[in-house]
């Protein structure tokens, strides 16, 4: 008789584990990736691969030489997700050496400094994105215009993003009706034929990925819905009050990084609250901050700042917003 295994209950387990979640996110990002290759060409592919590979390599090196650990954590897929999201949040024309620095910041400072997966307070890809934005403001705000299937690696035709046009127009006291003549149509925004960070341009591709994550139970809809609905309501109120000063809610939803941020960045499990109520508060906070930055801030886009600021509130939300226990009457 062989020895019996003794374990405490439960003796069966759901088949969803951490690597399956992480690789699931990777799969969900594929539609947006394909769209970015279509509109931004070979450079988008090279930039994304560089970002992913350097993230994985940095995590490996830190595991091995700084942590001196025998467990190499690169197989759980989280470094790949960080690499992909980082590349998706930068313009496709970004020099490769900058994305490599970004990867080091994301993995080194954003994640491994705190002890690795599960322990970082801020979304690593967003930490790196904001680091790059502040360090290399010109390269980070030079947006190549979409050119289907281009193989160019330099000399891009560039132009501002839709949000950039809006911000500049407002600063020049232009009327919104005038600004609207200069921005891309909503159909182009929906499909992704606009300037912008390479993964954020196509609403439809992001929604397909989000649906996949929802079906595979990787995300719940508390954060994305409360985030997007808050943006719609909050920006809608100002639009109704003064449609010549404030742009309409649909523009806010489709133009920038809101959908990518709401479905892929704000839902990052590690840095968002743990109760449904807390997640809704988190989403509302992100929504308010995004609209505030876009309408009155000096940056045209506010999604990454909004999510990072709310990341900082997550421990506080977790502390004060708890679930109501069964039978507490």
């Amino acid at each position: 008789m062989e020895k019996l295994v003794i374990s405490s209950s439960p003796h069966i387990h759901d088949n969803l584990d951490v690597p399956k979640i992480m690789w699931g996110v990777v799969i969900a990002l594929i539609p947006a990736f394909l769209v970015s290759i279509y509109f931004f060409g070979l450079k988008a592919l090279i930039l994304t691969l560089t970002s992913v590979i350097s993230c994985v390599i940095f995590e490996y090196l830190i595991n091995k030489y700084l942590f001196k650990s025998n467990t190499i954590t690169i197989y759980d897929g989280s470094a790949v997700v960080t690499g992909l999201l980082l590349a998706f949040n930068v313009p496709s024309s970004l020099p490769l050496w900058q994305i490599i620095i970004g990867s080091l910041v994301a993995i080194g400072i954003g994640k491994m400094t705190f002890g690795g997966l599960g322990k970082n307070p801020f979304n690593p890809a967003l930490v790196a994105r904001v680091f790059l934005l502040i360090s290399f403001p010109v390269d980070m705000t030079t947006w190549p215009k979409p050119e289907p299937l281009s193989t160019k690696l330099t000399d891009f035709i560039t132009g501002p993003t839709a949000l950039g046009i809006y911000k500049e127009g407002i600063l020049n006291n232009e009327k919104v009706s005038h600004i609207m003549t200069k921005v891309p149509s909503y159909t182009e925004m929906f499909l992704g034929k606009i300037g912008g960070s390479l993964g954020e341009v196509s609403a439809i591709a992001i929604l397909i990925g989000a649906a996949f994550m929802f079906i595979r139970r990787i995300i719940t809809l508390h954060i994305p819905f409360s985030y997007i609905i808050t943006v719609i309501i909050f920006s809608g109120i100002f639009w109704l009050i003064n449609p010549e000063r404030y742009i309409d809610p649909l523009f806010h939803v489709l133009s920038g990084g809101l959908l990518l941020g709401a479905f892929f960045m704000a839902t990052d499990m590690v840095t968002s609250p743990m109760t449904p109520k807390g997640q809704i508060i988190f989403g509302i906070g992100c929504g308010l901050l995004t609209v505030i930055i876009r309408n009155w801030g000096s940056y045209p886009e506010g999604v990454s700042f909004a999510i990072l600021i709310m990341n900082a509130f997550t421990p506080l939300i977790n502390k004060y917003v708890k679930t109501k226990k069964f039978g507490s009457i």
Partner: protein, 445 residues
């Protein structure tokens, strides 16, 4: 169409794997030797009243409950008491056990009705006499908790019972013993429910059944037409639908207060196996000496046996997997969600053994750090935060774990089942519950 009810918060949907649901109950042969532990109920163990060398008949009282929260034990076979000694039981410890060398045929105690006839006319009508009969026949909760039934039926002063709820949910994967019992002994269960209704003085009884058992639901629906006051209530397939508090909530919408008992909201819950045992005790004068056990597991169908209490489980395992080359790596007594892993095949079947499950190819799971995905929070039917409790208890912050309601945990295992990082959440919570209880005890003193 009857409305399908369910509890609301949390819960999981494991693959139900009811492999043996089509397999009729089969009477397991009398073993050569039975090992009847005295630790078959929650509360104080009964004291043996036989000694080595005594001849005992089937159904004879062999250990007597000396306190209120305890249960009598009867011999499940006819034979000679070989010895009263320590023998391994479900807990993995050696416990006082009456070992009887069994004869091949039964010599029943005279006043027991051993016929197969259904006795419809209820023999005892008086409330306290029914409870006394149940106490005398050693009946305990057969869903697995083994709480003495007569204690549950004795309603404290000032409380009133509105509903009797019969638990036929069987939400654990693999187990089909209650399912088969409802199909094969449906009418007996309804009579048992009627007896319990008399004992509790209630007019309404719900029988809750998960809707993965449509045959049992329809069968009991048909039979219940002749039994006034008994309502068959289909329930949604969701674990832990059969947990007492969740079941009461699903059926009546009442929430048992934290730290309270079902009677606080006017409900008493009994398992269908217990209800059948009540029928046998009252109508046939038969003590609790056998029960239905599902023997199943990974990679084979298995069987449903009617087993004498005290039968070593190795006999059940051998008769199901026989000579097949089946190298199981673990044996679970009960369901896979809440059952206990056994350390030996010598363990006997007791009053609380609802199933024996075999699992093979055990693989140690790789542990990942908590990624705060909140799945454990979302599935917890009690509204707790298991990942937080794990951290608090691992860091010995027992006071805070208590404040975060660790004692409300029903140990259903949903959190650990769903955890993508394979954290040992429930293990920490069990440890924490113990430490909190110790802390409260030392504070009292």
């Amino acid at each position: 169409m009857i409305k399908i009810k369910t509890f609301k918060r949390g819960g999981i949907h494991p693959d139900d794997k009811k492999l043996t649901k089509e397999v009729p109950i089969e009477e397991f042969p009398i073993p050569d030797k039975v090992y009847i532990p005295l630790t078959q109920n929650l509360g104080a163990p009964p004291e043996p009243i036989v000694k080595k060398g005594d001849f005992v008949k089937t159904g004879q009282l062999i250990a007597e409950a000396k306190s209120f929260v305890s249960a009598n034990v009867h011999s499940s076979v006819t034979g000679i008491v070989e010895k009263i000694d320590e023998h391994i039981d479900v807990s993995g410890y050696r416990k006082l056990t009456i070992i009887i060398n069994a004869e091949k045929t039964d010599n029943w105690v005279e006043d027991i009705d051993t016929s197969n006839n259904i006795v419809r006319e209820i023999k005892i009508k008086n409330k306290s006499e029914i409870i006394n009969k149940i106490r005398e026949k050693g009946i305990v909760g057969m869903g697995g908790a083994t709480f003495p039934t007569h204690v549950k039926l004795s309603i404290p002063e000032g409380k009133k019972c509105d509903y009797l709820i019969i638990n036929g949910v069987e939400c654990e994967p693999y187990l089909t013993s209650d399912h088969r019992l409802m199909l094969e002994k449906g009418e007996e269960i309804l009579i048992g429910a009627k007896i319990l209704m008399l004992a509790l003085d209630v007019n309404t009884c719900y029988i809750g059944i998960e809707n993965n058992k449509p045959d049992a639901i329809n069968h009991l629906l048909e039979l219940s037409k002749n039994y006034e006051g008994i309502i068959i209530q289909p329930l949604k397939l969701k674990y832990p639908q059969g947990a007492e508090k969740q079941l009461i909530y699903a059926i009546t919408g009442r929430e048992v207060p934290s730290g309270g008992l079902p009677i606080d909201v006017g409900c008493i819950v009994q398992n269908v196996g217990t209800t059948y045992a009540v029928y046998e005790a009252v109508q046939k004068n038969k003590p609790l000496i056998y029960r239905i056990v599902t023997v199943s597991g990974e990679g084979f169908i298995g069987k449903n046996f009617l087993v004498r209490i005290g039968t070593p489980i190795k006999l059940l395992i051998n008769s199901v997997i026989g000579d097949q080359n089946y190298n199981f790596t673990s044996i679970i007594s009960g369901g896979p969600m809440m059952g206990k892993a056994l350390i030996s095949t010598e363990v006997p079947v007791t009053k609380g053994t609802s199933g024996i499950l075999l699992f093979k190819d055990y693989k140690e799971q790789k542990l990942y750090p908590c990624i705060k995905c909140a799945k454990c929070v979302m599935v917890c039917p009690m509204g707790l935060m298991p990942s937080l409790l794990e951290k608090l208890i691992a860091n010995e912050r027992i006071e805070e774990a208590h404040k975060n309601n660790v004692l409300d945990c029903i140990e259903c295992g949903c959190c650990e089942y769903t955890c993508p990082s394979f954290r040992p959440l429930l293990e920490y919570i069990r440890l924490g519950k113990n430490k909190v209880l110790q802390m409260l005890k030392s504070k009292k003193n």
